[in-house]
């Protein structure tokens, strides 16, 4: 249950409070801004190496190499009307250029006659130091990436045709190059950013001929020891012979890490496309969880930068801007009616809003994909207070004109809608032992744009590492259902997150109805579960279990589970208990009560007094919250099951 402030708790327990609801719309997915880029510049500069950075004063710095010259551009206060066509020549340069910015510092690295040079700035890129040779020729550098660490610390990563090495600066001294312990057959791009450690993305081809986008970390003492290299983790891969290749990664950090890279398909009808992706909220770089890359309509390499209030995409001849954070819309005063159904694997939210003044339409946020956060609460002695329901995402908006009023109907769904909408773009497959259930859920939910964490988890969620696949065109919802079927755990929506929870038979109640909170109505339904005898067939072990009370009532009703992924008796036993737990939690009662503003799915509550229900502990299996201003209706209906 969401924690509630004491005045709100006291008011809702009295059962006759004045409703207070909040609504906010944002252009977000899973709590992460959906960047909507607008093109600010279109020129005729030739394609070539280029880089972008946005220092802490909000200025925009770009660099490119054309005709053997290093060209530099700084726009102090970028706007759609700024001049993005002026470039200052900084001397000769070849093959690669990189930029990094952090606060007032800026680092420009480039290759000149096969030597690695840098120029630095401490005034947001307004002035640059004289060129300094960090590595003399021959470096063999084909690609560069730069990152700024703590004050006085920096690193330049350079990739030859198949090797990556790093040169670090500490104080005012650049050190010697250190090579990575990995190998690739070829490298087609490199990106870096410092946050605790130096985080890198490399594109190229491995020794098996697979093209890939890989993430890795060069330690700076945060999660990895200083100077240590992490393994390479696959972020995107294409098998040898698929004629798909990747290049030109660009990495930036806003509220989360974001990445841009170029995918090229050289089949019968070839194409190139820049893709954008981001990490879910709260994911660490080394978790290697990324949203499924989103296609852009740009067919060339793009550089990505994030600065104060802005995200930028750049090519030598183009510049795109998106506000970050994006706009939000508070619509509290417009709400006429609301119905929210929270349930396992589904649910919805319906809103009816008054838009007679046209403010909602004008805001441009009432559209499919928008994130809706509704808070339910009461007017309390301490003022109006509300607790946020899980985030929903808009699927449908209907504008109506009725009785002289403009009305807006909104249908939104919780994270399950995002999960269901995600269809695998390609084959996903994990070999047995490669990832546990927790990790598989994190990756699949992450691909759908849903941040994932846990309230609690079972041993099976951590120990079970089955072979698993998600086939092209298959919905992530089916995959998540199948993963959850292997463990006793459930997913609870909290804010934009999907949180794993292991329901415990002996869980203590978090709230009390009856004496503690008035009950308006109650129903009790006596119905057997869909099965009361479960047989689990593991790889070599067979076990069965019973719900004896139900067997006594209606005889045995069989459910059989094939589980060839389970090799041992404890594994099969755990699966059996999970199946019996799910059957035990068949909803058998419904309560109607004034809304409990903090109630969450799978909470265990205590019912102390109602003729329809025996007193005891029950688990919340569905919640329906209804508000209707015209009818003065503010109610919550709660489906209950044995704990």
């Amino acid at each position: 249950m969401r924690p509630l402030p004491q005045p709100l708790l006291e008011t809702q327990k009295r059962g006759a409070g004045v409703p207070f609801l909040t609504i906010a719309f944002r252009r977000r997915e899973g709590g992460v801004e959906r960047l909507r880029f607008a093109r600010w510049y279109q020129g005729s500069e030739p394609t070539g190496p280029h880089a972008i950075a946005s220092p802490g004063d909000g200025s925009l710095v770009r660099a490119r190499i054309a005709g053997g010259q290093l060209l530099y551009q700084r726009v102090a206060s970028p706007s759609p009307t700024s001049d993005f066509s002026s470039w200052a020549a900084l001397g000769s340069a070849h093959r690669a250029v990189a930029l990094a910015a952090k606060g007032h510092r800026l680092l420009l690295a480039y290759v000149q006659n096969d030597a690695l040079l840098v120029r630095e700035s401490s005034d947001y890129g307004a002035t640059l130091s004289a060129p300094s040779v960090v590595l003399p020729a021959p470096t063999g550098a084909m690609h560069l990436a730069a990152a700024l660490g703590a004050e006085g610390e920096a690193a330049v990563f350079l990739a030859t045709s198949s090797q990556v090495s790093v040169v670090r600066k500490s104080g005012s001294t650049w050190g010697s190059p250190a090579a990575w312990p990995h190998s690739l057959a070829s490298i087609s791009g490199l990106a870096a950013h410092h946050q605790g450690d130096y985080n890198l993305v490399v594109t190229g081809v491995d020794s098996a001929g697979r093209s890939g986008v890989w993430a890795l970390v060069y330690g700076d003492g945060h999660r990895w020891p200083k100077g240590a290299w992490s393994p390479m983790w696959v972020l995107q891969v294409a098998h040898a012979g698929s004629q798909v290749s990747f290049s030109s990664p660009s990495l930036a950090l806003g509220e989360v890490y974001r990445l841009c890279f170029l995918e090229r398909f050289q089949g019968m009808v070839s194409h190139s496309r820049a893709y954008l992706t981001h990490m879910p909220l709260a994911a660490e770089f080394s978790d290697v969880i990324w949203r499924e890359p989103l296609p852009t309509d740009v067919g060339e390499a793009m550089a990505l930068a994030i600065g104060p209030g802005s995200a930028w995409l750049s090519t030598p001849s183009g510049l795109w801007h998106a506000p970050l954070p994006g706009p939000s819309l508070e619509a509290r005063g417009h709400l006429l009616a609301m119905e929210v159904q929270e349930e396992p694997f589904g649910g919805y939210m319906r809103l009816l809003l008054d838009d007679s003044e046209g403010l909602l339409r004008a805001a441009g946020l009432m559209e499919p994909g928008a994130e809706v956060e509704v808070g339910i609460g009461y007017q309390t002695a301490a003022g109006p207070l509300a607790s946020p329901l899980p985030c929903h995402w808009v699927e449908e908006v209907v504008h109506r004109w009725e009785g002289g009023r403009a009305l807006v109907e909104v249908l939104a769904r919780p994270f399950w809608g995002l999960v269901e909408a995600f269809r695998a773009r390609h084959q996903f497959a994990w070999a047995e032992g490669e990832a546990n259930i927790f990790g598989l859920l994190a990756v699949i939910l992450g691909r759908a744009g849903v941040p994932f964490s846990s309230l609690s988890y079972s041993a099976a969620a951590v120990n079970l590492r089955p072979a698993f696949a998600l086939h092209p065109g298959q919905s992530a919802l089916e995959a998540v259902r199948r993963l959850l079927a292997m463990v006793p755990d459930v997913l609870v929506p909290v804010g934009p997150y999907a949180l794993l929870k292991e329901p415990q038979l002996q869980e203590s109640p978090v709230y009390s109805y009856g004496d503690g909170h008035p009950i308006v109505r109650a129903w009790r339904r006596l119905e057997p579960p869909s099965a009361n005898r479960v047989q689990v067939f593991g790889k070599t072990v067979f076990l069965e279990g019973f719900l004896w009370d139900s067997v006594g009532q209606v005889g045995d009703r069989l459910a059989q589970v094939r589980a060839p992924e389970l090799p041992t008796a404890p594994d099969v036993q755990s699966r059996l208990e999970a199946e019996l737990g799910r059957l035990r939690r068949t909803p058998m009662a419904i309560l109607e009560a004034p809304p409990n503003c903090g109630l969450e799915l799978y909470d265990v509550v205590e019912v102390t007094e109602t003729p329809a229900l025996p007193p005891g502990r029950y688990r919340v299996m569905a919640i329906r919250t209804v508000f209707n201003a015209r009818r003065g209706q503010y109610r919550q209906t709660v489906s209950l099951a044995p704990p």
Binding site: A238, S242, H426, A467, F468, A469, H471, P564
Partner: protein, 71 residues
């Protein structure tokens, strides 16, 4: 039970498994798919079309490549 169409990309005659490009997956292929022993190794040729039957749709080890053919 689920059936998947695909194209054979590689065959391991020792393990009797195939690498299959499942239709719809341009860049990533399914590796280690057991091949029915009734299919002669010489017939599991890269480029041929094939049919995989999965008892459990999300477990690629719980299925078998049941047919190869040349359309």
């Amino acid at each position: 039970m689920q059936a998947l169409w695909g194209t054979v990309r590689a065959f391991n005659s020792t393990l009797y498994t195939a690498t299959v490009q499942v239709d719809g997956s341009l860049s990533v292929w399914l590796e280690g798919v057991p091949v029915a022993r009734g299919i002669p190794a010489a017939e599991v040729v890269p480029g041929r079309r094939c049919l995989i039957v999965l008892a459990e749709p999300t477990n690629p080890r719980d299925g078998v490549l049941v047919a190869v053919f040349q359309p």
